[in-house]
């Protein structure tokens, strides 16, 4: 049980760190650059790409920090898992439609991954989100401090 809790903690921290890095590198850069990447997936209208490019990095940041700090851990794990599932579907559609994306856009200008590599990374992240979600553990989390209330 203790090992499972430790595994869940490591999963939570890893996914949180990845989301924070991905979110911060995109949120600190001009949204138009990320909007171009979103547009190249050819899944959403261009008019939505720019607002999405402004919001998505902040969602990644908030969920990432919630996971790291253990704030609403279960909900944060579920949202992170849903996000990585959506990313997986988007990348799968690009691979199936053979859209030549030089860069998945996952980490802004910080790191470049091909769609195939991004698919593997997102699969791993989804699995780790599942571990964090399915384990009832408040190890090193602010949730346990909040719940104590004393």
């Amino acid at each position: 049980m203790k090992q499972r809790a430790l595994l869940a903690l490591l999963a939570r921290l890893f996914v949180g760190a990845v989301l924070v890095y991905a979110g911060a590198s995109k949120a600190s850069a001009p949204a138009e650059e990320f909007a171009l990447v979103i547009g190249s997936y050819d899944l959403v209208p261009n008019s939505i790409a720019l607002p999405m490019a402004g919001l998505l990095p902040w969602l990644e940041l908030l969920v990432g920090w919630a996971l790291i700090l253990g704030v609403r851990t279960k909900a944060a794990s579920a949202i992170a898992g849903a996000m990585t599932c959506v990313f997986l579907l988007a990348i799968a559609s690009v691979i199936i439609r053979e859209i030549p994306l030089p860069n998945c856009g996952c980490f802004g200008e910080g790191m470049h991954f091909s769609p195939a590599h991004a698919f593997i990374i997102d699969s791993l992240l989804t699995f780790l989100c599942w571990i964090a979600y399915s384990t009832d553990s408040n190890l090193f989390s602010l949730d346990s401090w909040t719940e104590r209330g004393i």
Partner: protein
């Protein structure tokens, strides 16, 4: 009991505030300080009157297919907004691992510009991009120079000299200061539009708004 509830509530609020603060701080710390970029360019890389209400600055790479595709909407914009645009072309050749002939093509156009034929060379490079984007690039550049009746020895000397290279390096520094990450990137009155699609769809809406407010 009430005090425990209250404490739990205030702790919960504090954790939310902590998440928000950490998100803002990490963005600020990852982001570099944005430096101003200069739209300055030699006269031969400018088009339109100084008093035009719309200024478009393009950071471009002659070997980049997306830049070639952006030429069509750009030319259409010039015809629709005739007399209302001052246009500045800035070199932003991508690294050799991405586009092996981007830098040499930028030098070729820059040196053609110093003989008053920048736009002719510019158009030729985009129109014939698929022809010269290979190891025979130098042969094609020389043939374009001859076709445009350039002083070829002077043009050759310019391409290997320090001035043209310095001008391109200066443009690239401006591009880096403006956080240009892909080409073509356009700034219309300072507002960024990346790629021909954004330029055509959102850029024109923005230009109409800018014109309305002037």
């Amino acid at each position: 009991m009430m005090s425990v509830m209250r404490r739990k509530f205030s702790r919960r609020l504090a954790t939310y505030a902590l998440v928000l603060a950490a998100s803002v701080l990490s963005t600020v710390s990852v982001g570099r300080a944005k430096k101003p970029f200069s739209p300055a360019a030699p006269e031969f890389r400018r088009k339109g009157g100084a008093g035009a209400p719309l200024e478009i600055v393009e950071f471009s790479d002659f070997q980049c297919p997306a830049c070639r595709y952006a030429e069509a909407p750009l030319r259409q914009i010039f015809s629709v907004y005739d007399g209302k645009i001052r246009f500045v072309f800035k070199h932003y050749p991508l690294p050799p691992r991405v586009h092996a002939w981007a830098k040499v093509s930028a030098l070729a156009a820059e040196c053609a510009g110093r003989q008053g034929k920048f736009w002719e060379f510019h158009d030729r490079l985009y129109d014939k991009q698929t022809e010269w984007s290979n190891e025979k690039a130098e042969i094609f550049f020389a043939s374009y120079a001859r076709d445009l009746k350039l002083d070829v020895p002077a043009w050759d000397a310019c391409r290997t000299g320090p001035d043209a290279a310095a001008a391109i390096a200066s443009d690239m520094e401006d591009g880096n200061n403006a956080w240009v990450a892909s080409t073509p990137t356009f700034f219309i009155n300072g507002r960024r539009f990346v790629g021909g699609k954004q330029l055509a769809e959102l850029g024109t809406l923005f230009m109409d708004r800018e014109l309305k407010h002037q």
